[in-house]
């Protein structure tokens, strides 16, 4: 009996340790070194392609912006503001939706201005001058995403714009999509940031 108790205790401890080992990312580990400067994010111009409206993602993009302007600003004392502009050339953040052929739901690409004054793809450690969010509506539809799941996906991608990395298994907007035994994606319904996300944003800004 004692042996069983000891074995079970050890197994429990080991499981806990492994959970901790692959656990939530905090602070510096949860963030890319680079990104937009806080000044830019306080006066952040965005532009949306007509495809966002065509593929019914306009509510989701608007919700994501509101989360930053309301929840994040209230919780961490930041002053992020999004401003819509009429020309994509004037925007620091641009949104698009299309069928992008590859097996992902959302993609954020950062850009910087190079020495020739051209926008080029940036590394995550660089200072960014522009970012693009692409939403793969075809795959979203194909895999049965609800509006709530789309809310989460767009908020997740906007989190990347603010330099948040993936936080794979955490209670976090930045966690990754999992699948069931049957291979069906299990989407989440986060419509605002968790405390972990807020702490990480607070760390950076």
């Amino acid at each position: 009996m004692n042996k069983i108790v000891v074995t079970l205790s050890l197994l429990t401890a080991l499981t806990s340790i492994s959970s901790i080992a692959y656990a939530d990312l905090h602070g510096r580990d949860a963030l890319w070194l680079g990104g937009f400067s806080e000044n830019v994010l306080e006066d952040f111009d965005y532009w949306e392609s007509s495809t966002i409206d065509t593929y019914n993602l306009d509510d989701e993009t608007a919700n994501a912006r509101l989360v930053f302007e309301n929840q994040v600003n209230n919780e961490i004392g930041s002053d992020f503001n999004f401003w819509r502009v009429n020309s994509s050339g004037d925007a620091e953040l641009r949104y698009y939706a299309n069928d992008y052929t590859d097996d992902w739901y959302g993609l954020m690409t950062p850009y910087k201005i190079n020495s020739s004054d051209n926008y080029v793809e940036a590394q995550f450690g660089d200072q960014w001058d522009r970012a693009k969010i692409q939403l793969n509506y075809e795959l979203m539809d194909n895999d049965g995403m609800t509006a709530a799941n789309r809310d989460w996906t767009v908020l997740h991608e906007t989190g990347h714009v603010f330099s948040l990395k993936h936080n794979p298994e955490a209670d976090s907007v930045m966690r990754t999509v999992e699948t069931s035994f049957w291979g069906n994606p299990i989407f989440f319904d986060y419509d605002e940031f968790t405390q972990l996300d807020l702490d990480n944003l607070d760390y950076k800004y």
């Binding site: 495809t51 299309n98 954020m108 690409t109 793809e121 692409q134 990347h160 990754t176 035994f181």
Partner: protein
């Protein structure tokens, strides 16, 4: 005291040099086909993470062993100004079919979520392109145009000739240093788990 000072200085110099190399972003254009010194850009995406081989099998339209035919083209999808997406359409020969409606000997097109340009190597979630040496097990989704996409990005391609466990990727200087590595992303533990299950099922 002098020996200590010398040793400390030498260590500092070595560490400083290696740090410079590992964070250097110098780009060298490829002049020789076998030498590709390019920066690597790895993008994070929202994608489905498959828990195990069963989940992959259930989600895939096609499961097949293939060889790269040697033909591929970089595809630049221009949807509208500012909205481009680039990947690679790779031709592979089907060697063995485990699931789905393709035939042995058939040549099929597979979209790979990575590409090489004069500016660098670009990858979604650390996916690396197939090469001529590999014998690949692919999990594929059927696309409307008759080609296929790799299911789950890096999770849908396994080189059955590579049986060793992948180690965590240390800092590297250019694509040349990692071009033969099967997977370039952070989810090494996850990749190895899926790879192990696939090797067990399809090579033993």
């Amino acid at each position: 005291m002098k020996k200590t000072l010398f040793t400390v200085s030498a260590i500092a110099l070595i560490l400083g040099s290696s740090l410079y190399f590992s964070t250097s972003t110098s780009i060298k254009a490829a002049n020789e086909t076998n030498s590709i010194e390019k920066d690597v850009y790895i993008r994070d995406a929202s994608y489905a993470s498959f828990t195990d081989i069963k989940a992959l099998e259930n989600a895939a339209d096609i499961i097949a062993e293939v060889k790269f035919s040697g033909k591929r083209e970089t595809k630049v999808w221009g949807y509208e100004e500012g909205d481009t997406y680039t990947n690679t359409l790779t031709s592979v020969e089907v060697k063995k079919v485990h699931q789905g409606e393709v035939s042995k000997g058939e040549e099929i097109g597979v979209y790979e979520p990575a590409y090489i340009s004069e500016n660098g190597f670009y990858s979604i979630e650390g996916y690396n392109l197939m090469n001529k040496k590999g014998k690949y097990l692919l999990y594929l989704r059927t696309k409307k145009d008759g080609n296929y996409s790799v299911l789950g990005l890096y999770q849908g391609k396994y080189d059955l000739n590579e049986t060793s466990t992948l180690k965590e990727l240390k800092k590297f200087r250019s694509y040349e240093d990692v071009q033969d590595r099967e997977y370039l992303g952070d989810e090494v533990e996850h990749f190895n788990k899926l790879k192990k299950e696939n090797l067990k099922k399809y090579t033993q």
